[in-house]
Amino acid sequence: MKSPDDSAVPAEAAGPKAVSRPPDSPAAGHPRFDRHPSWRIILLFGSAALISFLGCVLMADFLWRLGFNGARLLLLALFCVLFTMLSLGFVHALFGFFILLPNERRGAIPPPEPAPSKKAIPTTAIVFVVFNENVARVFAGLRTIYQSIEREDQLGSFEFFVLSDTRSPDRWVEEEMAWVHLCREVGGFGRIFYRHRRDNENKKSGNIADFCRTWGGRYTYMIVCDADSVMAGADIVRMTRHMEANPRIGILQTAPRIFGAESLFGRVQQFSNGLYGRMFCAGLDFWQCGVGNYWGHNAVIRLEPFIEYCDLPDLPGVEPFGGKILSHDFVEAALMRKAGWEVWLLYELEGSWEEGPQSLIESAKRDRRWCQGNLQHTWLLFSKGLHPFNKFHLTMGILGYCASPLWLMFLALSTWVAIDHKWSGLSTILPAQGFIGEFVHLSMMAHGLLLFGITLVLLVGPKMLAWLLLAVNRGRARLFGGLMRTGVGILIEFLLSTLIAPILMLFHTRFILFMFLGRSVEWKAQKRGADAGTGWLEAITAHWGQTLLAVAWGILAWQTSRMLFWWLSPVLIGLLVSIPLSVITSRPSMGRLLRGKRLLLTPEESAPAKELQDLENAIATAPPALPIPTTSTLAGLTAAVIDPYVNGVHVSLQEASGAGHDENLQALADRMVQEGAEGLSEHEVRRLLSDPQIMIATHRKIWSSAFREVAPHWRRAVEAYRRPLAA
């Protein structure tokens, strides 16, 4: 350990550096990064355009047979947009299938290996961006990555940071102690660092920008990890070597695999990510080449151009559509590319993982944030200088949410068309034969079924293709539970997705509507039931409107036309059962039940990598960071005030960060001592915690005072030390 002077005194900020540009000459690295999009774009998007065109023409002809009017014209327009998106997805999967097939036949997809080099990897920062997370989990993940890199004998090139924006005072203190404990256990002092930001301006992107401004000049590369990220040391080393060998690359993004799911909902997401994800990524990488996207974590970034070009500007206007950019990753990729640096997706690497939401409601909450962030990108579609591929990525991100209200409009309009036809009293004789009727001689029913069938192929096709890939690689199939079980898993996933899709459709539509009204959606978390998972009250609160809509819509459809009713039934059923579906799919017991039968299995469950095993062990064996149970009221604050060691650590960290003393806080501190901290706001508690002199004085005061002079909370805390502590 060094003297405090090294870190406490900031070096002079480096003056403006020469503007960084990628080298002009082609990269000398792996040929994988030497591909260019040109013909690939034409092939992939041409295929998608062809399928879209055929589908749209079929639909147009179908509506022509019914007779065109304003409503049907609008219906066709909506269908064309939605069908085009479906075609794009299908084509990505199809291309991905053909790209992966040769390697699957050989039994494995080898990760592209960088050219061997004796040069040391330049110093790289691995940053964990934390905001009110489960502290034990964060530090277990950090330990896992640390030890994984240590096994590669490359620890000398990496430094680790926990960049905390945690607002909860208790978690803040817990993080500090967890950091110290970890450093002591792995000998990480001087290599694992902790920084807590006093204010979380600009949220995650601001957190990273603050790191760049403070320590950015020290590192060549930065690997960004979320609180739930895990990465294998071997792949981290591989990625940084690729960056070294390919000096044009600005960002190298992995395709993280979901792991650790327990609930049925989580395991379905995990299964579909594991089974289909790689195929879609292969298709995506096929055409985007060096104009890929950045997903905010599990990626390595070249710091110099990132600092130079990727600080986020404010958007015109204010939130929700303007102001600070919320979804920063897509924009950072676009800005990097605008400056000439390449962004690649290295989907072949298997040592990259993240956790996913465990319930429908948690997923919707996450979508709420992402929806607003993505819709903000609309401004950037009109900005100058961004690469067209990046604008395409932004558009897809926007449409990913806007498709929901479009789909809802499509369904509503279809219902209207049926109602209008019924109540108009018009005959059922078709005004026109159309091309299909006249030349192919299909009846209307058959025509409709043809359209339905094609749509189903586009929806289900990728799943079948993924299953086929397993069929040629039996070793990998065993990791998913075998071919038969995978097939059953696909069916389960398909059924659940069908039921969940309309629920998400309504959630997304509501988010967008509220955004246009300038309102943010308040979502107060309810208490959970005895098992982890969504409680019934929370589910009813979230889904009652959807259930009512399903009942009303179902009655209307039934009264209008049986055919309309049955056509809408998959949507209506999903909405009708949204409440029990939300609850049941959130239960870990349901997930465990299927896992016991080896259904929805993934390689992360059947043959977990060493890192995932280490993570599980680390979480299970992690000693408590605080000497007070974290379930106790104000555990972190209490420990920081009462415990001599926690107080010493916390005060030392505040002093090192340059925190000063605020005389005005003394009255607040006295109130806390006499009346307890329960009446203080989080902000007030943070202010007290941020003042080292106050913390030392309060520690001394409470220990020295008679019990009658302090609040009962402090008395209990002091008396707890009369009982033996854990070491």
Binding site: S7, W215, S383
Partner: protein, 195 residues
């Protein structure tokens, strides 16, 4: 070591003047504090507590005061003095206390060096070195960079729209009127179109 029972009946005993009651709480408080410092050995614990209470009794004889308050003051003073000697630094009272406790914790004093806590020299070299080297390095040396956003260049039409949007934001009533007029127009047009 003097056994507490034996010492009760002598002028050196903390309870000689005031009786046992007040010193009971003092004992418990000091013991709790040393327990908080993770001193586990019961014999060592009682010796340390007795040593503190003896000093507190002396203080009380000189200037009076509550036993418990004096005992904790005595504890703080004793510990701070010991920190100064071990760390070989002169710091203000508040800083030496925090600095010393941090050093104790990082040097794993409770685990390895418990017997040397508050003990007189000589101390093992390794113990001294670990105590004096114990600092928290929460971050490496700063190497700052300037990171500033480049403004987005929007097309002329969008720039005009954004300026209009921002001026509307400053007049929420007009913005609401325009918004509702647009919504009504769209809905009316839609109904007309569909009907």
């Amino acid at each position: 070591m003097d056994v507490p029972d034996q010492a009760v009946g002598t002028p050196d005993d903390p309870a000689w003047e005031t009786g046992l009651g007040g010193w009971d709480e003092a004992y418990a408080r000091v013991e709790a504090y040393f327990s908080a410092l993770r001193i586990r050995n019961k014999l060592l614990l009682s010796r340390l507590v007795y040593r503190v209470l003896k000093r507190a009794a002396d203080m009380q004889r000189q200037s009076g005061g509550e036993p418990q308050v004096l005992a904790m003051q005595s504890t703080a003073k004793l510990v701070a003095e010991w920190f100064e000697r071990v760390l070989d630094v002169k710091l203000p009272k508040e800083r030496i206390a925090g600095r010393g406790r941090l050093a104790l914790f990082l040097a794993d004093m409770p685990g390895r060096w418990e017997r040397y806590f508050l003990a007189d020299p000589p101390w093992p070299e390794e113990f001294i070195e670990r105590m004096r080297r114990s600092y928290l390095n929460a971050g490496p040396k700063f190497q700052a960079r300037t990171m500033t956003p480049r403004p987005i260049e929007l097309s002329a039409i969008v720039t005009g729209a954004s300026q209009t949007w921002e001026s509307l934001n400053r007049t929420p009533i007009i913005r609401a009127m325009i918004s509702w007029t647009l919504v009504t127009a769209v809905v009316t047009g839609l109904v007309f179109f569909l009907w």
